[in-house]
Symmetry: C2
Subunit: 101 residues, 2 copies
DNA sequence: ACTGGGCATATCCGATATGATATATATTCA
DNA sequence: TGAATATATATCATATCGGATATGCCCAGT
């Protein structure tokens, strides 16, 4: 959710917590969800840092822009392959990937 | 491959290198493959450290032993969910998971 | 040798991740 | 404001992941 939308909803009386609060998730569930989101955000951050558009990155990975968008949005589960191939092609070492966890 | 089998094959004249040597993989390909294998091995290591059989761990995850075997063998790709749920249920924090990368 | 426990393999199936195209929305800038 | 670029969403096809059952192999203990 973007901050603009969030502010509108808050103004309308909504409040916000994390997924654990909201859904009554177990700590493990919340934790792996956080991991997934963290890594997805890292893709976006590194892509922008490299000055690449989603289309540019898609080309490097021989795929298409919408697939990159999905990855960054973490709208669904992701395979290790897809995620790490992406992060590695952005020039991140496994060690640097680990650093964001 | 277990070491016993490997020794037999070596005795029969086979030699061994890593996947990058053998398949002519790109550094990225080799790297994410290593990551995948590292994490798979970590599942096995942590499971044994906890004194659990594959069946025990499967029960904790409400699944079956063969699925754990597949995960540890890394015979196929794995989703972030499956992998991290498993590692987290073994008591590993994201930080500790990162430490093995 | 027999048995039981632990792990691996084969196979089927339902669920879903990935990839593609088309299109919508958002952002930037002249 | 309009055009160009960037990102998001919708939808479909295909590939494959995760779960299940059945079964085989190996080893340890009896």
């Amino acid at each position: 959710m973007d901050s603009k939308k969030r502010k509108r909803l808050e103004a309308a009386g909504w409040t916000f917590g994390n997924a654990e609060d909201f859904l009554g998730m177990s700590p493990e569930e919340a934790s792996y969800l956080e991991v997934k989101l963290t890594l997805a955000r890292e893709v976006e951050a590194q892509r922008k840092k490299a000055g690449l558009s989603q289309s540019d990155l898609a080309a490097k990975l021989k795929t298409r822009q919408p697939n990159i968008a999905r990855l960054e949005k973490a709208q669904q589960n992701v395979t290790i392959d897809a995620l790490f191939k992406t992060l590695l092609v952005l020039g991140l070492s496994p060690r640097k990937i680990a650093a964001v966890l």
